[in-house]
Every structure is written in C-alpha cells, then in structure tokens.
C-alpha cells in the first residue's frame, strides 16, 4: 500500500509517497538520489547504508520508510558546506581512510554519532562503535587514525 509520510532529510522537510515495503535505503537512493547511502548486504550487517535517524546511527536497508513519519534523517550529503568539508570528512581525507571509498559514508556517519556521544573516545570505544561497519579494503588502521584525529579536532573547538 502507498502512503504519505513527512521526513526531514538533511535539514529539509520532505513530503514523500512511499510503499509499505520500501526501505529507508530505497527511499533515500531511488527517491531522493542520495547516492552516498549504499547497499552492500541488505540485512543490517555491514554498515554501508548507515545514516543518522534523529541523531542515532541506523542501517537504512533495515528500516521501513513507512514507519518513519515525522522523523529526521541525516546522510553524508548533509555534512559538507559549500566550500569546506566537515571536520570528520577532513580527517578521513587527511588520514587516507578511503580506498575504494564505498564504505566511507557509512563510517563517517557512524563516527559522527560516536563523537556526539563520546567527545574524546578511547580506542576501544571507537572499535566497539565501528565494529558494525565493514571495510573490505581493510583500511581499519587509517580509519582509527581518522576518527582519533576528528575527535581531537572537534574537541579543540
């Protein structure tokens, strides 16, 4: 069945018609063309499709859009300003944390949620928080460095 929902996406309110079977991932990609939200497993196991739902990291492939009326979603497209990267993006860039880059948006959104919860996370907290995000290029050491650098940068401010 089709129904109408209202969803705030990257700060902008959207009125959307969705099918009961549509996942949030399908709505963001197919509907809104937010291509940073990527499917890699479809079962909530890899973190590629991580977005923030009311500030909490979720797997967009695993949520039905019809249930999200009135909620707020944030994707990587909402991070960078016109001329500057978000500090987390900058840290990922400077620490070579993106190789093929397919997993990168998911990691960045998970890292954003982490740093909002723990301003100065320990390495174990970083590992715990990011253990649901998979990177087959195996760039984990650089991702660790990037998140540490982002933490230092955000807590400086």
């Amino acid at each position: 069945m089709e129904r109408n929902i209202s969803l705030t996406v990257n700060g902008r309110q959207r009125e959307l018609e969705v099918n009961d079977a549509d996942t949030l991932l399908e709505v963001l990609r197919d509907g809104l063309k937010l291509w940073s939200v990527r499917e890699a497993c479809g079962v909530g196991a890899c973190g590629s499709c991580t977005v923030l739902l009311d500030g909490r990291p979720v797997s967009a492939c695993f949520l039905l859009a019809a249930r999200l009326d009135g909620r707020s979603v944030e994707t990587v497209e909402g991070l960078a300003g016109d001329d500057a990267l978000h500090p987390i993006q900058q840290a990922f860039l400077e620490n070579d944390a993106a190789q093929c880059g397919y997993c990168t948006p998911g990691f960045i959104m998970a890292a954003k949620a982490l740093l909002e919860e723990h301003g100065d996370p320990t390495d174990d907290q970083i590992r715990d928080y990011l253990s649901g995000n998979l990177c087959r290029c195996g760039g984990y050491p650089n991702i660790m460095r990037a998140v540490r650098a982002a933490a230092a940068r955000t807590s400086d401010r």
């Binding site: 291509w35 497993c41 900058q90 093929c100």
Partner: protein
C-alpha cells in the same frame, strides 16, 4: 634512491574528496531515462535437467518489458550463448541443464526491481534432478557424475592457448612439472614429511556488488557501463558473442567499490546487453549480496605435500594440488597453471614433481581472488616448512633463509630469479615481531606464540598494457589508460609516473577512466600487474611526448635535445636553467599555434618462453616475482580454542614504491582481508546448497579483528625493467597470512591445524586430540 620529483612521494589520492563526500560516481548511481531493472530466477538445484520453462504469465505481468531464457538466447540469430575466459563453458542463462545452485535460469527486465522480482514468481520451471558431485576428490573418481559432457575452447588469451579441451572427465586442466629424480631422492631420504592441507571456497565481498548497465545508442552501438576490472576483455568477448565488430561496443568503467578479482571477465554484461537489444531501452542489473555468493568464489583446494630431507637439506618435494573450480572453469586453468608452478615454494629443492588439477564440481564457479591461487599453495608449503624445520630442530626463520632462493638462482621452473626481496622481507618481518625475544609467559589458560611464513608469486605473463599520453598546449596532460581504479590508487599512481617522466606538475595530469572507445587495450586490472605494465606503458608514452617537446625546444634554441631537461612544466638547458621555455612557448615554436596536441603511445608486453608440456620447464616463465613475508604473534586460549592475533607485520617487495602510502595500504588491506579468510571465512555447503550465503552468516574481518599493532613493511629491491624500478604490491600482503598464523598457533600451543579457517572449534578439537595422545584428559 634517484632524485625524483614526484615518484616516491606519498601524494594524496585524486579521488579523496569525492569519496569522503559520497559524491563519487558508481554504476549504481547511473539512471538513464527509461531505465529497466533486471531480476534473475536462479536454480534451486545443484545439478538438474531443465524439463520445461513456462514464462507466459511473467511476460504478461505489469511493468514487464522482456523475459529471457537460455533457449531464447540460443535461438537468437548470430548469437553465441556461451562464454568464459578459459573455456566457453558458461551459458549466459542455463540451457538444458543447471550445474550449480544459484545458476541463472530466467531473466526479467521491468520498470522497477520490484516488478521484475514479482514477475519471477510467475515463471514456472520444471527440473529433473541429476546426481551431484561436490567434493573435489570425489569429482576425480572414475564413476563421478560428469559436470560438462563437452568443453568448448575459448581462445580469449594467448597465455591460455595451450589449454586443451578435456576428455569426458571433471578434470578440465592439468599442469605438470618434473625436475630431477624425485623417486630416487625419496628412496635415499633420512626423513619424509607428508601432509594434506585444505582451504575452503570463500567470498571476495567487494562492498559494491556486481552491477552493469547497457543501452543501445542512436547509432545502434551497444554501450556498457559496468563495475568491471577488465573492460577490454568485456568488449572483445561481447563482440564475439554478439557477432559484431569490436568498435560497435563501447565499455566504460567508473570508480569501483572494490574488486579483489571478483569483477573480472564477463559477469552481468551479456545479460544486460541482450536485454537492452531486446527491449531497445537502458537496462541495469545490480546483484544482491545473496546473488553475489552464487556468482564467483575463491577456489577451495586440497594440497598434498610430501618432502624428503637428507641431513639438514630438503632434497625432494612432491606436490599434488586439486582446485575446486565449481561448475564453470572461469579462469581456473590459468590459476591452476600459474599458481601450480609455484607450489613447491621459493626454495632450493633439487628434485620436484608438481601436479596441479582444475576440477569441475556442482558448486558456484571459482575465479580469480586476490593472490590468484598463490595464497592457497603458500598456505600449504609454508605450513609444511615449519613442520619440517621443527621436525629437524631448526629455527623456522633460519631454515627458510638457508633454503630461500636469491638473485640469479633458478626457480623450480628453470627461470632465474631477479629482484626478489624474499630474504629481506623475512628478516625484517622477523625483526619486527621480535623473533629473537623470549616468548611471553603463559597466563591462566592463555598461551602466546609467534609465527612466520614467506612465499613468492610470479606475475601473470604474458599480458599487455597500452597507454596514450596527450600533452595539451597549456602544459596539462591527459593519460588514456584502461586500468580500473578500484581503491588501489592506480589513477594517482599513473599520474605520478606521467608527471615524473614529462617533468610536469602532478596536478596537471588527468587520467581518463577506462572507455574502450578511447583507452587502449589492457589485459586486466588485477594480479598486481598494473604498476609495472601500465606504469611502463604510460612512462613510454610520456617519454615519446617528451621527445617531441624537447625537439621543439631544441630547434628553437638551436641546441641538442639531449642537453634538455624538464621540471615543473618548464623545459630548460641542463645546468643553465634560465635558458628554456614553457610548454606553451614550445608549442608556439613548433606549430605557430596553440590549437594542437603532442601525442605519444606506449605498449608494455612482456613475453615468456613456453613451458615444456612434460617437464614444465621454461627459461622465462614470468616477468617478475613478488616476495611476501608475514610475521605474527598470537594468543590462544587453551580452554576455548579462541585465537587472537596480537601483532601483525606484513612485508612485501614493491620494487620501488612509487607512492609509499598506497603500498602500505595495499599490504595492510590484503593482510586484513586474508586474516578474515584465515580465521573464520568459509562458504558452507550441504548437499550442494549454500548454508551461509549472506553477511549475517558469513563473517569478514571488522575493525575488532585487526590488532592494534598491524604494520606494513615495504621492501624495495628495484626491478631492472620496472617503471622507476617498480613492480606491484596489491596481493603481496595476502600471500603468507594463513601459514604465519597456523605456525604461530603451533608455537603457542603445540598443535598443528592443516585446514583453514582456524576457527576456535577446530583449534579446540586439535587441543583435545593432542591431550588424548599425550595421555591427558
């Protein structure tokens, strides 16, 4: 090191901003107007005859544009319905018979993915199950069910020209090497070591699954956008299958979300091309992760090794390697050959026999996987190296160093070794892990141990890379290359090479993404070959442009071109920098105008001496060698069998590191991937049905599996013919992980496990069995 301006510097990736903003273009984001989506009905049986297919209800379903079966394709005039890089044994869609669970049977193109999937439910297929063969050793028995009754040759690659269609047997290829007198050496041996090692089929898991898009343009040409590591191959193979000239097909490849070997040769391209031709509309097919598991796998193997020792020397080794290539040969024969001839290791052993067999079974097809089969043979031979060293009471590091081949020595095939930093890699890895330090004491049920392993891979030879460099009148340059950027950093690395050779700034060189209309032929982006092959081609092309540029400047300044040099976009007289000019001035001097370009072409095409079919000997079987060593420290819980890797050192010889950062990333990335394969990854089958075909059930390494101490060691032994001495390093870190961990396991708790993955369960079993033997409980 020579004084280079940009080679050897850790410049940032070109694509970094696109990647951290998520804006990067993938095939998955392409949506031409009128796009149709594909869903495919797959076989529920591992082996069955197709009795009947009724697709009429699906054709009438809402939103459906076309429904295609294998029989439909076979009936299309002028179309060859089979493909494959070694044998043309794989139908685009099954014809008459299915040979593995998940084989593609019926394809639907519809207005949406959901409409296509719903239409599949309306297709009726009647199957008659056939006897199934799953185990690679069962498959070679005389009474085994036969997977293919006939084998059609392919002819796509020169290095596979010797691959002959097999008889009525599941062995579709056999590589043989005979050196010295093995029987005599065994008869005279003091000790004989005999072991069987296994590795299971596994998954590549690129985070971006396979995806391809096709449309027929206004001129009737077939356009393909595809996540492929081999655009040139895709074009040639499609031209052959469709019976059209190569220039009627255009294949373009944007950035890939990982490849690791999964995205080689034809995968989804024939289906989307045929559906686009049938419907006249753009067609896209994106695999789900579950379908990915049924598309291509890593070869499972059984490796039997027998080694003779006299005194402290290894005198003979006999290797039998059985490769489970699944239902279609894919590139299996090339793997069986290229990895087969290295399966006795990079060691001085005077008498060797190798038999390496490519075997069909009713499993999903196995293809190239980061390391191209070499991780499987090193897993076996460098586990056995430790067993032998320990058996002789020798130090495992010293034992390897004593037996390791070095510069000028002949490899087992009779090919001399050049620029192979094997010993340096072993020494540096051993130092890094603190090999000579005393072992950490036991704590509670936990024991620590260290392990080392080494090995070599021979680069795929022959193969071809072509490149074109275009210098524009403003001093910017375009590099045309079919090398695919899939995360390895090739785009930036090729720009570094072109910039260095031309003497232009790095940021003024643009590397064009693969587009078969404009970028020259390249064999594949795989096998750690691009830095050397494409790097050489780009360097040659740039050198030709530079020559033309220098001639222009020399003419104007009335000096000899040999006295010129270029740097930062300016050409000047060596030793007198003020005498010179910019590229623009040189263009004006030569052409009197700026509306032109200088163009150079380069081709890198190393050749081999064909191997003797009986002995496997060749004066030159490969262009260069990759040396790899891994050293690890592990902690094993003797109560649970749980193994944790505490330190990891991945050493590999890059020749010259064109970009040290990328080399380090490749070493660590490959090692991390193979740590997962060593510790927990395996595809589990029951009666031919895959039991763990999703990422919920199939675990890969996460950030928690990588030790805090995970260090790359880039060894640099320049190759005489490499671009600036470079070789390649994409797979090197993968090669030696499994054996190093198993060797550390034995060091820690005294048990030897010969099957990967080294799961807690397996280690626990081995510990229990050892306790029984030792009379404990």
């Amino acid at each position: 090191m020579a004084d280079y301006s940009i080679v050897g510097r850790p410049v940032d990736r070109r694509d970094a901003v696109q990647k951290v903003t998520g804006r990067v273009l993938h095939v998955g984001n392409m949506e031409p107007a009128g796009l149709l989506h594909v869903a495919v009905l797959r076989s529920p049986h591992p082996h069955a005859r197709i009795v009947r297919i009724d697709k009429s209800r699906a054709e009438a379903a809402p939103g459906v544009a076309a429904v295609l079966t294998g029989a439909d394709i076979a009936a299309m005039p002028g179309i060859t319905p089979y493909h494959g890089p070694a044998f043309a044994d794989q139908p685009v869609l099954a014809i008459d018979r299915v040979r593995h669970e998940g084989e593609q049977v019926v394809a639907v193109a519809a207005e949406s993915r959901r409409a296509a999937e719903e239409a599949l439910e309306l297709v009726e297929v009647e199957y008659e199950p056939l006897p199934v063969v799953l185990d690679v050793l069962d498959a070679i028995k005389p009474d085994a069910p036969i997977v293919h009754d006939e084998i059609r040759p392919s002819g796509a690659f020169a290095d596979l020209a010797h691959v002959k269609a097999g008889e009525r047997s599941n062995i579709c290829y056999h590589y043989k090497l005979r050196k010295g007198d093995v029987d005599k050496a065994f008869a005279e041996a003091d000790r004989i070591f005999e072991d069987v090692f296994t590795a299971p089929p596994a998954q590549h898991v690129p985070m971006e699954a396979h995806v391809s898009l096709a449309y027929v343009d206004e001129g009737g040409r077939i356009n393909i956008h595809t996540a492929s590591q081999s655009p040139s191959f895709v074009r040639g193979e499609l031209a052959r299958m469709l019976g059209v000239p190569m220039n009627r097909i255009r294949v373009r490849v944007p950035y890939l979300g990982g490849g690791y070997g999964a995205k080689l040769y034809n995968k989804l391209e024939p289906i989307v091309a045929l559906l686009a031709m049938k419907t006249g509309r753009p067609v896209k097919y994106s695999l789900s992760r579950e379908e990915e598991f049924q598309t291509v796998t890593k070869h499972g193997v059984v490796v039997k090794l027998k080694t003779a020792v006299k005194g402290s020397a290894m005198t003979a080794r006999k290797c039998e390697v059985y490769w489970d290539t699944g239902a279609f040969a894919e590139i299996g024969p090339r793997i069986v050959h290229k990895s087969g001839y290295t399966s006795s290791g990079p060691y001085k052993i005077p008498n060797v026999s190798i038999d390496s067999y490519c075997v069909y079974t009713n499993k999903p097809p196995a293809g190239p996987f980061r390391g191209f089969g070499v991780p499987q043979v090193i897993w076996a031979y460098d586990s056995q190296m430790d067993i032998v060293a320990r058996g002789l009471g020798a130090d495992p590091v010293e034992f390897r160093l004593e037996h390791a081949l070095e510069e000028g020595d002949l490899f087992v095939t009779g090919t001399p070794i050049h620029a192979c930093g094997l010993k340096e890699a072993v020494r540096r890895a051993a130092d890094a892990v603190g090999w000579d330090q005393p072992k950490a004491p036991a704590s509670g049920s936990k024991r620590r141990g260290k392990g080392i392993a080494c090995g070599v891979k021979a680069v795929l030879t022959p193969s071809i890379s072509g490149a074109i460099v275009i210098l524009n009148a403003d001093g910017s340059a375009n590099v045309l290359s079919s090398t695919v950027e899939m995360g390895q950093g090739s785009e930036s690395l090729l720009a570094q090479i072109a910039a260095e050779e031309l003497g232009m700034p790095f940021d003024r060189v643009h590397v064009v993404q693969p587009d078969t209309d404009v970028t020259p032929y390249d064999t594949i982006s795989a096998g750690s070959r691009s830095t050397y092959h494409m790097g050489n081609a780009v360097r040659m092309a740039a050198a030709k442009v530079k020559e033309e540029l220098f001639q222009a400047v020399a003419g104007k300044l009335e000096i000899d071109a040999a006295d010129l040099e270029s740097r930062d976009g300016r050409v000047f007289v060596r030793g007198a920098e003020e005498r010179g000019m910019t590229v623009t001035e040189a263009f004006l001097a030569k052409f009197g105008s700026l509306g032109t370009t200088m163009v150079g072409e380069g081709l890198c095409q190393p050749v081999v001496t064909p191997m003797d079919p009986e002995t496997g000997m060749s004066e030159k079987c490969t262009e260069y060698w990759f040396a790899s060593a891994s050293a690890v420290e592990v902690e094993v819980d003797t109560e649970t069998g749980r193994l944790e890797v505490l330190q990891f050192h991945a050493a590999g010889d890059a020749g010259t590191a064109i970009n040290p950062k990328y080399c380090e990333q490749q070493l660590v990335g490959a090692a991390t991937m193979h740590l997962g394969l060593t510790l927990f990854e395996q595809m589990v089958f029951q009666d031919g049905q895959l039991l763990n075909g999703s990422l919920l059930d199939y675990q890969i390494a996460s950030i928690k599996d990588v030790p805090a101490a995970c260090h790359p060691i880039v060894v640099e032994v320049p190759h005489k013919d490499g671009p600036f001495g470079a070789k390649g390093i994409g797979e090197t870190g993968a090669l030696t992980v499994a054996a190093a961990v198993a060797n550390a396991l034995e060091d820690a708790v005294g048990v030897r496990v010969r099957d990967i993955p080294l799961t807690a369960e397996r280690i626990h079993e081995a510990l229990k069995a050892a306790r029984k033997v030792n009379g404990g409980t």
